[in-house]
Symmetry: C2
Protein backbone atom coordinates (compact mmCIF):
# COMPACT_ATOMS: atom_id res chain seq x y z
CA UNK A 1 0.00 0.00 0.00
CA UNK A 2 0.95 3.68 -0.17
CA UNK A 3 1.48 5.26 3.26
CA UNK A 4 2.07 8.91 4.17
CA UNK A 5 3.98 9.68 7.36
CA UNK A 6 3.45 13.27 8.49
CA UNK A 7 5.41 15.05 11.22
CA UNK A 8 4.07 18.19 12.88
CA UNK A 9 6.13 20.27 15.28
CA UNK A 10 5.32 21.46 18.78
CA UNK A 11 5.10 25.12 17.62
CA UNK A 12 1.93 24.41 15.62
CA UNK A 13 0.45 22.14 18.28
CA UNK A 14 0.92 24.88 20.87
CA UNK A 15 -1.34 27.35 19.01
CA UNK A 16 -5.01 26.28 19.20
CA UNK A 17 -5.93 28.00 15.91
CA UNK A 18 -2.93 26.71 13.95
CA UNK A 19 -3.41 23.28 15.44
CA UNK A 20 -7.10 23.19 14.46
CA UNK A 21 -6.28 24.37 10.91
CA UNK A 22 -3.63 21.67 10.57
CA UNK A 23 -5.89 18.90 11.90
CA UNK A 24 -8.63 19.86 9.41
CA UNK A 25 -6.13 19.61 6.53
CA UNK A 26 -4.70 16.39 7.93
CA UNK A 27 -8.22 14.90 8.10
CA UNK A 28 -8.66 15.69 4.40
CA UNK A 29 -5.27 14.28 3.43
CA UNK A 30 -6.13 11.34 1.16
CA UNK A 31 -4.98 7.74 1.61
CA UNK A 32 -3.22 5.92 4.44
CA UNK A 33 -1.54 8.26 6.91
CA UNK A 34 0.35 8.26 10.18
CA UNK A 35 0.86 11.40 12.27
CA UNK A 36 3.87 12.06 14.52
CA UNK A 37 3.77 15.12 16.77
CA UNK A 38 6.13 17.07 18.97
CA UNK A 39 5.24 19.18 21.99
CA UNK A 40 8.41 20.56 23.52
CA UNK A 41 7.05 24.08 24.07
CA UNK A 42 4.12 22.90 26.19
CA UNK A 43 6.32 20.37 28.03
CA UNK A 44 8.73 23.14 29.06
CA UNK A 45 5.85 25.39 30.16
CA UNK A 46 4.11 22.60 32.14
CA UNK A 47 7.39 21.55 33.76
CA UNK A 48 8.07 25.15 34.83
CA UNK A 49 4.59 25.39 36.40
CA UNK A 50 5.63 22.39 38.53
CA UNK A 51 9.04 23.88 39.37
CA UNK A 52 10.96 21.69 36.90
CA UNK A 53 13.27 23.72 34.63
CA UNK A 54 14.00 22.45 31.10
CA UNK A 55 17.65 21.58 30.45
CA UNK A 56 18.65 21.47 26.78
CA UNK A 57 22.00 20.36 25.29
CA UNK A 58 22.56 20.69 21.51
CA UNK A 59 18.82 21.32 21.11
CA UNK A 60 17.96 18.03 22.84
CA UNK A 61 16.16 17.79 26.18
CA UNK A 62 18.13 16.23 29.02
CA UNK A 63 15.53 13.92 30.56
CA UNK A 64 15.87 13.10 34.24
CA UNK A 65 13.14 11.13 36.09
CA UNK A 66 10.98 14.20 36.81
CA UNK A 67 11.33 15.51 33.23
CA UNK A 68 10.35 12.08 31.85
CA UNK A 69 7.17 12.27 33.95
CA UNK A 70 6.44 15.75 32.56
CA UNK A 71 6.98 14.80 28.89
CA UNK A 72 4.96 11.58 29.34
CA UNK A 73 2.07 13.61 30.81
CA UNK A 74 2.23 16.36 28.19
CA UNK A 75 3.07 14.38 25.01
CA UNK A 76 1.15 11.13 25.62
CA UNK A 77 -1.63 12.65 27.74
CA UNK A 78 -2.61 16.26 27.12
CA UNK A 79 -1.39 16.82 23.54
CA UNK A 80 -1.94 13.36 22.04
CA UNK A 81 -5.46 12.94 23.44
CA UNK A 82 -6.52 16.50 22.55
CA UNK A 83 -5.38 15.82 18.96
CA UNK A 84 -7.28 12.52 18.86
CA UNK A 85 -10.49 14.11 20.17
CA UNK A 86 -10.25 16.86 17.50
CA UNK A 87 -9.54 14.36 14.71
CA UNK A 88 -12.59 12.31 15.75
CA UNK A 89 -14.67 15.49 15.56
CA UNK A 90 -13.37 16.06 11.99
CA UNK A 91 -14.47 12.53 11.07
CA UNK A 92 -10.95 11.09 11.04
CA UNK A 93 -10.82 7.91 13.09
CA UNK A 94 -7.48 7.89 14.91
CA UNK A 95 -5.71 6.18 17.78
CA UNK A 96 -3.00 7.76 19.93
CA UNK A 97 0.14 5.74 20.59
CA UNK A 98 3.45 5.80 22.38
CA UNK A 99 6.10 3.26 21.42
CA UNK A 100 5.00 1.17 24.42
CA UNK A 101 1.43 0.74 23.13
CA UNK A 102 1.20 -2.51 21.21
CA UNK A 103 5.02 -2.56 21.48
CA UNK A 104 4.90 -0.15 18.51
CA UNK A 105 8.43 1.28 18.83
CA UNK A 106 11.23 -0.39 20.74
CA UNK A 107 14.19 1.78 21.79
CA UNK A 108 17.35 1.54 23.86
CA UNK A 109 18.36 4.14 26.42
CA UNK A 110 21.05 6.28 24.80
CA UNK A 111 24.49 5.21 26.07
CA UNK A 112 26.30 7.93 28.03
CA UNK A 113 29.28 9.32 26.09
CA UNK A 114 30.19 13.00 26.52
CA UNK A 115 26.69 13.90 27.65
CA UNK A 116 24.20 11.96 29.78
CA UNK A 117 20.84 12.72 28.15
CA UNK A 118 19.08 10.60 30.78
CA UNK A 119 15.88 8.75 29.81
CA UNK A 120 16.28 9.33 26.07
CA UNK A 121 15.71 6.53 23.57
CA UNK A 122 17.33 5.58 20.28
CA UNK A 123 14.87 3.65 18.09
CA UNK A 124 15.70 -0.02 17.41
CA UNK A 125 12.55 -1.51 15.90
CA UNK A 126 9.14 -0.43 14.60
CA UNK A 127 6.24 -2.90 14.82
CA UNK A 128 5.03 -2.46 11.24
CA UNK A 129 2.35 -5.17 11.41
CA UNK A 130 0.51 -3.24 14.16
CA UNK A 131 0.53 -0.13 11.94
CA UNK A 132 -0.55 -2.07 8.83
CA UNK A 133 -3.41 -3.62 10.78
CA UNK A 134 -4.66 -0.22 12.05
CA UNK A 135 -4.39 1.36 8.58
CA UNK A 136 -6.29 -1.56 7.03
CA UNK A 137 -9.12 -0.84 9.50
CA UNK A 138 -9.11 2.83 8.47
CA UNK A 139 -7.64 3.94 11.79
CA UNK A 140 -4.87 6.57 11.67
CA UNK A 141 -2.05 6.02 14.19
CA UNK A 142 -0.97 9.24 15.94
CA UNK A 143 2.41 8.97 17.66
CA UNK A 144 3.84 11.16 20.38
CA UNK A 145 7.57 11.26 21.05
CA UNK A 146 7.70 8.58 23.76
CA UNK A 147 9.02 5.04 23.23
CA UNK A 148 9.99 2.18 25.59
CA UNK A 149 12.72 -0.41 26.10
CA UNK A 150 10.39 -3.42 26.75
CA UNK A 151 11.99 -3.65 30.19
CA UNK A 152 9.42 -1.33 31.75
CA UNK A 153 11.13 1.99 31.01
CA UNK A 154 9.54 4.77 28.96
CA UNK A 155 12.02 6.86 26.95
CA UNK A 156 11.83 10.39 25.55
CA UNK A 157 12.55 10.16 21.80
CA UNK A 158 12.99 12.81 19.10
CA UNK A 159 9.80 13.15 17.02
CA UNK A 160 11.68 13.73 13.70
CA UNK A 161 13.56 10.49 14.35
CA UNK A 162 10.33 8.62 15.13
CA UNK A 163 8.78 9.84 11.86
CA UNK A 164 11.88 8.77 9.86
CA UNK A 165 12.13 5.38 11.57
CA UNK A 166 8.43 4.63 10.98
CA UNK A 167 8.80 5.68 7.32
CA UNK A 168 11.94 3.64 6.62
CA UNK A 169 10.56 0.55 8.41
CA UNK A 170 7.33 0.64 6.39
CA UNK A 171 9.30 1.38 3.18
CA UNK A 172 10.58 -2.23 3.15
CA UNK A 173 7.12 -3.37 2.02
CA UNK A 174 5.23 -0.22 1.04
CA UNK A 175 5.50 3.03 -0.94
CA UNK A 176 6.11 5.63 1.76
CA UNK A 177 6.07 9.42 1.55
CA UNK A 178 7.44 11.44 4.46
CA UNK A 179 6.20 14.99 5.17
CA UNK A 180 7.89 17.32 7.65
CA UNK A 181 5.70 20.31 8.50
CA UNK A 182 7.72 23.11 10.06
CA UNK A 183 7.77 26.92 10.34
CA UNK A 184 9.36 27.71 6.94
CA UNK A 185 8.05 27.57 3.36
CA UNK A 186 10.69 24.91 2.71
CA UNK A 187 14.44 24.94 2.05
CA UNK A 188 15.41 28.52 1.17
CA UNK A 189 18.26 29.95 -0.93
CA UNK A 190 18.27 32.95 1.39
CA UNK A 191 17.01 32.13 4.87
CA UNK A 192 15.73 35.69 5.33
CA UNK A 193 13.59 35.51 2.19
CA UNK A 194 10.66 33.07 2.22
CA UNK A 195 10.22 33.51 -1.54
CA UNK A 196 13.70 32.08 -2.26
CA UNK A 197 12.25 28.56 -1.96
CA UNK A 198 14.11 25.66 -3.59
CA UNK A 199 11.25 23.48 -4.89
CA UNK A 200 13.25 20.32 -5.64
CA UNK A 201 16.45 18.90 -4.18
CA UNK A 202 18.20 15.71 -5.27
CA UNK A 203 21.75 14.50 -4.52
CA UNK A 204 23.25 16.58 -7.38
CA UNK A 205 21.44 19.77 -6.42
CA UNK A 206 22.25 19.15 -2.74
CA UNK A 207 25.95 18.81 -3.62
CA UNK A 208 25.89 22.08 -5.55
CA UNK A 209 24.03 23.92 -2.78
CA UNK A 210 26.48 22.67 -0.16
CA UNK A 211 29.47 23.57 -2.36
CA UNK A 212 28.06 27.09 -2.84
CA UNK A 213 27.36 27.36 0.92
CA UNK A 214 23.70 28.07 0.27
CA UNK A 215 22.22 25.74 2.86
CA UNK A 216 21.55 27.34 6.23
CA UNK A 217 23.28 25.37 9.00
CA UNK A 218 19.99 24.68 10.85
CA UNK A 219 18.63 23.00 7.73
CA UNK A 220 21.53 20.56 7.20
CA UNK A 221 20.39 17.93 9.78
CA UNK A 222 16.89 17.96 8.25
CA UNK A 223 18.30 17.41 4.75
CA UNK A 224 20.70 14.71 5.92
CA UNK A 225 17.78 13.02 7.68
CA UNK A 226 15.75 13.27 4.45
CA UNK A 227 18.45 11.77 2.21
CA UNK A 228 19.04 9.04 4.77
CA UNK A 229 15.33 8.13 4.59
CA UNK A 230 15.48 8.10 0.77
CA UNK A 231 18.55 5.84 0.89
CA UNK A 232 16.56 3.43 3.07
CA UNK A 233 13.76 3.19 0.53
CA UNK A 234 11.40 6.07 1.30
CA UNK A 235 9.82 7.27 -1.95
CA UNK A 236 9.65 11.00 -1.37
CA UNK A 237 10.39 13.50 1.41
CA UNK A 238 8.71 16.91 1.67
CA UNK A 239 9.53 19.91 3.87
CA UNK A 240 7.17 22.86 4.19
CA UNK A 241 4.46 24.79 6.00
CA UNK A 242 1.55 22.86 7.56
CA UNK A 243 -0.95 24.97 5.59
CA UNK A 244 0.59 23.66 2.33
CA UNK A 245 0.23 19.99 3.27
CA UNK A 246 -2.82 19.34 1.07
CA UNK A 247 -1.18 21.02 -1.94
CA UNK A 248 1.83 18.81 -1.37
CA UNK A 249 -0.38 15.70 -1.24
CA UNK A 250 -1.65 16.63 -4.71
CA UNK A 251 1.89 17.07 -6.04
CA UNK A 252 1.26 20.81 -6.47
CA UNK A 253 4.03 23.33 -6.12
CA UNK A 254 4.59 24.01 -2.44
CA UNK A 255 7.49 23.47 -0.08
CA UNK A 256 10.62 21.54 -0.95
CA UNK A 257 10.47 18.04 -2.43
CA UNK A 258 13.48 15.84 -1.82
CA UNK A 259 13.93 12.95 -4.20
CA UNK A 260 16.72 10.64 -5.29
CA UNK A 261 18.09 11.06 -8.81
CA UNK A 262 16.22 8.85 -11.24
CA UNK A 263 19.11 7.47 -13.28
CA UNK A 264 18.37 6.49 -16.85
CA UNK A 265 19.76 2.99 -17.10
CA UNK A 266 19.77 2.86 -20.91
Amino acid sequence: MEINVIKIGGNVIDHPEKSEMFLKLFSKFPGNKILVHGGGVLASRTGKSMGIQPHMVNGRRVTDKETLEVVTMVYAGLINKSLIAKLQAFGQNAIGLTGADGNAILSVKRPVKDIDYGYVGDVKKVNTSLLENLLQQGVTPVFCAITHDKRGQLLNTNADTIASEIATSLAKKHTVNLYFCFDRTGVLMDEKNESSLIPLINEDIYGELMRDNVIHSGMIPKLENAFNALKKGVNHVWLGLPENLLLASKGKNSGTSIETLKYDLY
Copy 2:
Protein backbone atom coordinates in the same frame (compact mmCIF):
# COMPACT_ATOMS: atom_id res chain seq x y z
CA MET B 1 -15.57 -15.42 23.33
CA GLU B 2 -15.10 -15.13 27.10
CA ILE B 3 -13.84 -11.71 28.19
CA ASN B 4 -12.70 -10.52 31.63
CA VAL B 5 -13.01 -6.83 32.45
CA ILE B 6 -10.86 -5.86 35.43
CA LYS B 7 -11.01 -2.53 37.28
CA ILE B 8 -8.13 -1.39 39.49
CA GLY B 9 -8.34 1.67 41.72
CA GLY B 10 -6.04 4.64 41.96
CA ASN B 11 -4.90 3.62 45.48
CA VAL B 12 -3.09 0.56 44.11
CA ILE B 13 -1.73 2.40 41.07
CA ASP B 14 -0.27 5.07 43.34
CA HIS B 15 1.99 2.60 45.20
CA PRO B 16 4.85 1.39 42.94
CA GLU B 17 5.17 -1.96 44.78
CA LYS B 18 1.43 -2.71 44.91
CA SER B 19 1.09 -1.61 41.30
CA GLU B 20 3.93 -3.90 40.17
CA MET B 21 2.47 -6.84 42.12
CA PHE B 22 -0.92 -6.25 40.54
CA LEU B 23 0.46 -5.96 36.99
CA LYS B 24 2.36 -9.25 37.39
CA LEU B 25 -0.85 -11.00 38.46
CA PHE B 26 -2.82 -9.29 35.71
CA SER B 27 -0.25 -10.48 33.13
CA LYS B 28 -0.80 -14.06 34.33
CA PHE B 29 -4.60 -13.73 34.30
CA PRO B 30 -5.68 -16.28 31.66
CA GLY B 31 -7.85 -15.53 28.62
CA ASN B 32 -9.10 -12.32 27.05
CA LYS B 33 -8.89 -9.34 29.37
CA ILE B 34 -9.45 -5.61 29.47
CA LEU B 35 -8.03 -3.35 32.21
CA VAL B 36 -9.66 -0.14 33.46
CA HIS B 37 -7.70 1.99 35.90
CA GLY B 38 -8.30 4.99 38.13
CA GLY B 39 -5.74 7.52 39.30
CA GLY B 40 -7.49 10.16 41.39
CA VAL B 41 -4.83 10.28 44.11
CA LEU B 42 -2.01 11.13 41.69
CA ALA B 43 -4.25 13.58 39.77
CA SER B 44 -4.98 15.51 42.97
CA ARG B 45 -1.28 15.56 43.93
CA THR B 46 -0.14 16.65 40.44
CA GLY B 47 -2.82 19.34 40.27
CA LYS B 48 -1.75 20.70 43.67
CA SER B 49 1.89 20.89 42.47
CA MET B 50 0.58 23.16 39.68
CA GLY B 51 -1.56 25.23 42.06
CA ILE B 52 -4.85 23.56 41.08
CA GLN B 53 -6.85 22.38 44.11
CA PRO B 54 -9.13 19.32 43.75
CA HIS B 55 -12.83 20.04 44.26
CA MET B 56 -14.97 17.01 45.09
CA VAL B 57 -18.78 16.84 45.41
CA ASN B 58 -20.41 13.54 46.52
CA GLY B 59 -17.07 11.80 45.94
CA ARG B 60 -16.94 12.98 42.30
CA ARG B 61 -14.35 15.41 40.94
CA VAL B 62 -15.70 18.72 39.67
CA THR B 63 -13.78 19.12 36.41
CA ASP B 64 -13.14 22.64 35.15
CA LYS B 65 -10.88 23.29 32.12
CA GLU B 66 -7.65 23.24 34.15
CA THR B 67 -8.66 20.10 36.06
CA LEU B 68 -9.53 18.35 32.78
CA GLU B 69 -6.00 19.12 31.56
CA VAL B 70 -4.54 17.68 34.77
CA VAL B 71 -6.58 14.45 34.68
CA THR B 72 -5.86 14.00 30.95
CA MET B 73 -2.12 14.37 31.62
CA VAL B 74 -2.12 12.09 34.66
CA TYR B 75 -4.63 9.39 33.63
CA ALA B 76 -3.95 9.14 29.86
CA GLY B 77 -0.27 10.12 30.01
CA LEU B 78 1.69 9.30 33.13
CA ILE B 79 -0.35 6.46 34.65
CA ASN B 80 -1.63 4.75 31.49
CA LYS B 81 1.73 4.73 29.70
CA SER B 82 3.66 3.62 32.81
CA LEU B 83 1.24 0.69 33.16
CA ILE B 84 1.63 -0.21 29.47
CA ALA B 85 5.45 -0.14 29.66
CA LYS B 86 5.36 -2.43 32.72
CA LEU B 87 2.90 -4.83 31.11
CA GLN B 88 5.12 -5.07 28.01
CA ALA B 89 8.06 -5.91 30.33
CA PHE B 90 5.95 -8.71 31.86
CA GLY B 91 5.29 -10.09 28.36
CA GLN B 92 1.69 -8.87 28.20
CA ASN B 93 1.09 -7.01 24.95
CA ALA B 94 -1.22 -4.09 25.75
CA ILE B 95 -2.43 -0.83 24.28
CA GLY B 96 -3.49 2.21 26.29
CA LEU B 97 -6.74 3.92 25.37
CA THR B 98 -9.00 6.80 26.22
CA GLY B 99 -12.54 6.80 24.88
CA ALA B 100 -11.36 9.12 22.09
CA ASP B 101 -8.85 6.58 20.72
CA GLY B 102 -10.49 4.62 17.93
CA ASN B 103 -13.72 6.26 19.11
CA ALA B 104 -13.73 3.56 21.79
CA ILE B 105 -16.16 5.19 24.25
CA LEU B 106 -18.57 7.94 23.31
CA SER B 107 -20.00 10.08 26.12
CA VAL B 108 -22.13 13.17 26.63
CA LYS B 109 -21.20 16.00 28.96
CA ARG B 110 -23.29 15.56 32.09
CA PRO B 111 -26.26 17.96 32.04
CA VAL B 112 -26.19 20.54 34.82
CA LYS B 113 -28.91 19.90 37.44
CA ASP B 114 -28.20 20.75 41.08
CA ILE B 115 -24.45 20.55 40.57
CA ASP B 116 -22.29 21.54 37.60
CA TYR B 117 -19.65 18.81 37.46
CA GLY B 118 -18.01 20.52 34.48
CA TYR B 119 -16.25 18.38 31.85
CA VAL B 120 -17.61 15.08 33.14
CA GLY B 121 -18.96 12.45 30.76
CA ASP B 122 -21.82 9.97 30.95
CA VAL B 123 -21.14 6.97 28.71
CA LYS B 124 -23.42 6.52 25.68
CA LYS B 125 -21.75 3.89 23.50
CA VAL B 126 -18.82 1.48 23.58
CA ASN B 127 -17.12 0.53 20.28
CA THR B 128 -17.10 -3.23 20.89
CA SER B 129 -15.71 -4.14 17.45
CA LEU B 130 -12.49 -2.21 18.18
CA LEU B 131 -12.11 -4.16 21.43
CA GLU B 132 -12.92 -7.51 19.79
CA ASN B 133 -10.34 -6.80 17.08
CA LEU B 134 -7.60 -5.98 19.61
CA LEU B 135 -8.41 -9.04 21.75
CA GLN B 136 -8.34 -11.28 18.66
CA GLN B 137 -4.81 -10.02 17.99
CA GLY B 138 -3.79 -10.84 21.56
CA VAL B 139 -3.56 -7.18 22.54
CA THR B 140 -5.03 -6.18 25.91
CA PRO B 141 -6.85 -2.83 25.93
CA VAL B 142 -6.02 -0.70 29.00
CA PHE B 143 -8.49 2.13 29.60
CA CYS B 144 -8.03 5.26 31.65
CA ALA B 145 -11.01 7.27 32.88
CA ILE B 146 -11.19 9.74 29.98
CA THR B 147 -13.83 9.61 27.22
CA HIS B 148 -14.95 12.07 24.50
CA ASP B 149 -18.10 13.47 22.91
CA LYS B 150 -16.97 13.12 19.24
CA ARG B 151 -17.29 16.89 18.99
CA GLY B 152 -13.69 17.49 20.04
CA GLN B 153 -14.20 17.52 23.80
CA LEU B 154 -12.47 15.12 26.19
CA LEU B 155 -14.52 14.23 29.29
CA ASN B 156 -13.54 12.97 32.74
CA THR B 157 -15.49 9.75 33.37
CA ASN B 158 -15.79 7.51 36.42
CA ALA B 159 -13.59 4.41 36.03
CA ASP B 160 -16.10 2.04 37.73
CA THR B 161 -18.72 3.23 35.24
CA ILE B 162 -16.35 2.70 32.30
CA ALA B 163 -15.64 -0.87 33.46
CA SER B 164 -19.38 -1.61 33.82
CA GLU B 165 -20.28 -0.04 30.46
CA ILE B 166 -17.54 -1.99 28.64
CA ALA B 167 -18.69 -5.20 30.34
CA THR B 168 -22.40 -4.76 29.60
CA SER B 169 -21.73 -3.72 25.98
CA LEU B 170 -19.58 -6.79 25.32
CA ALA B 171 -22.09 -9.02 27.18
CA LYS B 172 -24.54 -8.69 24.26
CA LYS B 173 -22.32 -11.06 22.25
CA HIS B 174 -19.85 -12.56 24.70
CA THR B 175 -19.54 -14.19 28.13
CA VAL B 176 -18.22 -11.37 30.31
CA ASN B 177 -16.86 -11.45 33.86
CA LEU B 178 -16.35 -8.19 35.72
CA TYR B 179 -13.74 -7.87 38.48
CA PHE B 180 -13.53 -4.87 40.80
CA CYS B 181 -10.23 -4.79 42.71
CA PHE B 182 -10.44 -2.50 45.73
CA ASP B 183 -9.00 -2.11 49.22
CA ARG B 184 -11.23 -4.64 51.05
CA THR B 185 -11.35 -8.45 51.08
CA GLY B 186 -14.82 -8.17 49.58
CA VAL B 187 -18.29 -7.40 50.96
CA LEU B 188 -18.13 -7.76 54.74
CA MET B 189 -20.80 -8.59 57.36
CA ASP B 190 -18.92 -6.32 59.76
CA GLU B 191 -16.96 -3.58 58.02
CA LYS B 192 -14.39 -3.52 60.83
CA ASN B 193 -13.64 -7.23 60.49
CA GLU B 194 -11.98 -8.36 57.23
CA SER B 195 -12.69 -12.00 58.11
CA SER B 196 -16.48 -11.43 58.05
CA LEU B 197 -16.43 -11.82 54.27
CA ILE B 198 -19.63 -12.72 52.44
CA PRO B 199 -18.37 -15.07 49.69
CA LEU B 200 -21.53 -15.12 47.53
CA ILE B 201 -24.36 -12.65 47.04
CA ASN B 202 -27.40 -13.12 44.83
CA GLU B 203 -30.65 -11.14 44.75
CA ASP B 204 -32.17 -13.15 47.63
CA ILE B 205 -29.11 -12.84 49.84
CA TYR B 206 -28.81 -9.12 48.95
CA GLY B 207 -32.44 -8.59 49.98
CA GLU B 208 -31.85 -10.31 53.32
CA LEU B 209 -28.63 -8.36 53.98
CA MET B 210 -30.35 -5.06 53.18
CA ARG B 211 -33.32 -5.97 55.37
CA ASP B 212 -31.00 -6.82 58.25
CA ASN B 213 -29.05 -3.57 57.66
CA VAL B 214 -25.81 -5.52 57.24
CA ILE B 215 -24.51 -3.74 54.13
CA HIS B 216 -22.23 -0.80 54.87
CA SER B 217 -23.53 2.34 53.13
CA GLY B 218 -20.29 2.82 51.12
CA MET B 219 -20.77 -0.63 49.62
CA ILE B 220 -24.35 -0.13 48.41
CA PRO B 221 -23.46 1.75 45.16
CA LYS B 222 -20.91 -0.95 44.28
CA LEU B 223 -23.50 -3.70 44.80
CA GLU B 224 -26.20 -1.82 42.90
CA ASN B 225 -23.68 -1.33 40.07
CA ALA B 226 -22.89 -5.06 40.15
CA PHE B 227 -26.54 -6.19 40.03
CA ASN B 228 -27.20 -3.68 37.27
CA ALA B 229 -24.36 -5.26 35.23
CA LEU B 230 -25.78 -8.75 35.86
CA LYS B 231 -29.23 -7.57 34.76
CA LYS B 232 -27.66 -6.36 31.50
CA GLY B 233 -26.16 -9.77 30.76
CA VAL B 234 -22.79 -9.83 32.55
CA ASN B 235 -22.08 -13.41 33.67
CA HIS B 236 -20.37 -12.80 36.99
CA VAL B 237 -19.16 -9.87 39.10
CA TRP B 238 -16.38 -10.13 41.68
CA LEU B 239 -15.26 -7.69 44.37
CA GLY B 240 -12.00 -8.16 46.27
CA LEU B 241 -8.34 -7.43 46.88
CA PRO B 242 -6.02 -7.12 43.86
CA GLU B 243 -3.72 -9.81 45.31
CA ASN B 244 -6.62 -12.31 45.15
CA LEU B 245 -7.32 -11.68 41.46
CA LEU B 246 -5.67 -14.87 40.20
CA LEU B 247 -7.46 -17.01 42.81
CA ALA B 248 -10.71 -15.43 41.65
CA SER B 249 -9.88 -16.23 38.00
CA LYS B 250 -9.59 -19.90 39.01
CA GLY B 251 -12.94 -19.80 40.82
CA LYS B 252 -11.17 -20.33 44.15
CA ASN B 253 -12.54 -18.90 47.35
CA SER B 254 -11.56 -15.24 47.57
CA GLY B 255 -13.49 -11.99 47.64
CA THR B 256 -17.21 -11.72 47.02
CA SER B 257 -18.87 -13.25 43.97
CA ILE B 258 -22.09 -11.65 42.83
CA GLU B 259 -24.34 -13.79 40.68
CA THR B 260 -27.96 -13.84 39.61
CA LEU B 261 -30.19 -16.56 41.03
CA LYS B 262 -30.22 -19.61 38.79
CA TYR B 263 -33.92 -20.46 38.78
CA ASP B 264 -34.90 -24.04 38.20
CA LEU B 265 -37.44 -23.86 35.37
CA TYR B 266 -38.87 -27.37 35.85
